[in-house]
Amino acid sequence: MLLAIDTSTGTSVAVVDRDRATGELRCLAETGTDDTMRHAEVIGGFIRDALAASGIDRRELSGVAAGMGPGPFTGLRVGIAAAHAFALGIDRPFVPVVSHDAIALSRYTAGDDGPLQVVTDARRREFAVSEYDGLDADGLPVRVDGPVLVPRDEVPASRGIRFDATVVSAGAIGMLAELAFAAGRLPLAADAPIYLRAPDVTPSVGKKVLR
C-alpha cells in the first residue's frame, strides 16, 4: 500500500494498493486539483483527505511514491519535498517515478495501444515530450525516448497517438510503483527532480576595479 503524490502539473494525491494474491491494482482514494499555482497551500489537505478517504492508517503504508517531473520547478518541488518528508516520517522507502510514465500508463489502461507521444507544458514556449511503445510484460509503459524539451512548434510528428496532458494522476504514479515493486524492478527513476533546464541565473558582471 502506497501514498502517491504528483505536483508536476496540478496537485494529485492518492493511496493505492496491489492485492498480493490476485495482483489486482486498486486506487483506494485520489484527490487533487488542476490548479497550477497553489501546490504549497493544498498539499497538506490533500494528503490528509486521501488518507482519510482510503480508510487506512498511515502506518500501514509500505512506501511513498512521487512524480519527479518533468514539470514547472516551483510546484514540482512541493510534491517531491512532501513525499520525501512523509516517507521519512513513517520510516518507509521513497519511490521516485517519471511523471510522464504515469500519463502513459493512464492512457494504455484506458484502451490506447501502440506508439504514444506524451506532451506536457514546460512553459517558455516549450513542451516536454516522451515517446512510448506500449506496455511490457510487467505492465509498465515502454519509454523509448524522452522526456526532452522541445520548442512548441517543433514537436516531432507522433508515430501513433499524440496526447497532450494537463493532469498527472497520483493514482497512476502509485500503480507504476506497485507494478515495479511486484516485478522487482525498483528503482524506476533516479531520486532527482527532472528539471530538464539549468537554473535561470544572471551571472555577475563583477567590475574588477581594484584587483
Binding site: R38, H39, A40, E41, V42, I43, G44, G45, I47, R48, L51, R58, F73, T74, R77, V78, G79, I80, A81, A82, A83, H84, A85, F86, A87, L88, G89, I90, D91, P193, Y195, P199, D200, V201, T202, P203, S204, G206, K207, K208, V209, L210, R211
Partner: protein
C-alpha cells in the same frame, strides 16, 4: 504531549540556508544548517532557483542530521514548526511542503511561523536570562533589515521600520562586487577595511535627514549609499588616482553600521524601551557589534546578541518560536497555509486554527 517543554522540530528555508533545529521548550538540542552559499558565490548573489533546488536536496539529510545531533527520534516530536514567510517564495515552498507532510506523517500539530519573529525567538535558547519584553529588535541580513518592537513574542509584535530598497547585507554584497571583492560581501569588506579609516570618506547615511525622518523615522535605505560608493570610486579612477581600498571599505561599513545602530537606539529612546536585541546574519559583523555595544552602553540600553550560530538563518529559532506559541497555549496552524514571501512582521503565526 508535553506543554511545559514541548519537543519541536523547526524547518527554515526562506533564503539560502536549509536549517533544521530541534528544541525542547527553550533548550537547544540541535541546530543543523546546510548552506548553498558556495553555489551562489559563482553568481555574486543569491539566485532563487539555485537556492530552491539546493533546499530540496538538502532537506532530508539535514533533518536526519538534526535528529542524530539531538539524539531524539521523530516519533518523540510534539510538533513541527516551519517558516512560512517572509522570504523567497520558491525556497519557502520547499520547507512548507516538507513540514506539512512531516507533521501529517507523525500526526502532530504544525506551527507556520514568521521568519523575522523567529530571529527574536532565537534569543530564548540556551540562556539563563529570560528574554525581557518589551524590547526593540534590529534584524539585519542579506534578505531583510527590520526594526521591530516586541511587546510579547507570541502575541504582539509591531514593525517600526524596514529597508525601503536594499537589505543591509545586500548592500555589503553589491559594494563588495563593485570593489572587486568576492561574495558574500560582509566578511570581504571586513577584511578589506583592516587598517582603513572609517572617517576618511563621509558616505551618506540614508533616511537620516530631518525631512526624511518625518515619514521614515525607523526605515532604512542603502541603495543611495551603494551609488555614492560607486561614484566616489569612479571619480578617483577618472582622475587617475589610486583607490584607497581600506578607507573606502571602512567608511562604507561605518555608514551602514552608523545608520543601523542610530535608528535602533533612537527607537529605544523614543519609545522608552531600554532593551535592544540584535539578530540576522549581518550581526556577525564585528564593527556592528562594537558600535552597538558602545552606543547601547552610553544610552543605558541593555543589549542582547545571541550567539552567531543562532543569528544567521536557522531552524532552531523557528522551533523556539513554535515552542513558545505552544507553551502559551496558542492553537496550531491548519494545513492550508501557503508560503507568503511578504508576510508582515505583525503576523507571528499563519493560519492559526480556531481554538
Amino acid at each position: 504531549m508535553n506543554r511545559d517543554a514541548p519537543l519541536i522540530l523547526g524547518i527554515e528555508t526562506s533564503c539560502d540556508e536549509t536549517g533544521v533545529g530541534i528544541v525542547r521548550g527553550t533548550t537547544l538540542l540541535a541546530n543543523t544548517i546546510a548552506s548553498s552559499m558556495d553555489e551562489h558565490a559563482r553568481y555574486g548573489g543569491i539566485v532563487p532557483e539555485v537556492a530552491a533546488r539546493a533546499h530540496l536536496e538538502a532537506l532530508g539529510p539535514t533533518i536526519r542530521a538534526a535528529l542524530a545531533e539531538a539524539s531524539v527520534t521523530l516519533d518523540e516530536l510534539d510538533a513541527v514548526a516551519v517558516t512560512s514567510g517572509p522570504g523567497l517564495a520558491g525556497a519557502l515552498m520547499v520547507g512548507v511542503g516538507a513540514a506539512k507532510a512531516l507533521a501529517l506523517s507523525l500526526d502532530v500539530p504544525i506551527y507556520a511561523v514568521n521568519h523575522l519573529v523567529g530571529h527574536v525567538g532565537a534569543d530564548l535558547l540556551d540562556t539563563t536570562a529570560p528574554l525581557e519584553t518589551p524590547t526593540v529588535a534590529l534584524l539585519v541580513s542579506g534578505g531583510h533589515t527590520s526594526l521591530l518592537l516586541v511587546r510579547d513574542l507570541v502575541s504582539d509584535v509591531e514593525l517600526l521600520g524596514e529597508t525601503i530598497d536594499d537589505a543591509a547585507g545586500e548592500a555589503f554584497d553589491k559594494v563588495a562586487r563593485l570593489l572587486g571583492l568576492r561574495y558574500p560581501g560582509g566578511p570581504e569588506i571586513d577584511r578589506a577595511a583592516i587598517g582603513g579609516d572609517p572617517r576618511a570618506i563621509r558616505f551618506p547615511r540614508g533616511l537620516t535627514q530631518p525631512k526624511d525622518l518625518v515619514a521614515h523615522r525607523y526605515d532604512f535605505s542603502f541603495s543611495g549609499l551603494k551609488t555614492a560608493v560607486a561614484r566616489w570610486v569612479e571619480q578617483r579612477e577618472a582622475a587617475g588616482e589610486p583607490v584607497p581600498l581600506a578607507d573606502v571599505a571602512a567608511s562604507f561599513r561605518e555608514a551602514v553600521v552608523d545608520v543601523l545602530v542610530s535608528k535602533a537606539v533612537a527607537a529605544c529612546t523614543d519609545l522608552g524601551v531600554p532593551r535592544l536585541l540584535l539578530g540576522g546574519g549581518v550581526v556577525a559583523n564585528a564593527r556592528l557589534r562594537e558600535v552597538a555595544v558602545e552606543r547601547a552602553d552610553a544610552a543605558g540600553i541593555a543589549l542582547r546578541i545571541p550567539p552567531r550560530s543562532l543569528c544567521t538563518d536557522n531552524g532552531a529559532m523557528i522551533a523556539a518560536l513554535g515552542a513558545q506559541l505552544m507553551m502559551a497555549g496558542h492553537p496550531p496552524s491548519t494545513v492550508d497555509f501557503g508560503a507568503d514571501s511578504t508576510l508582515p512582521a505583525t503576523e507571528i503565526q499563519m493560519a492559526a486554527s480556531v481554538a
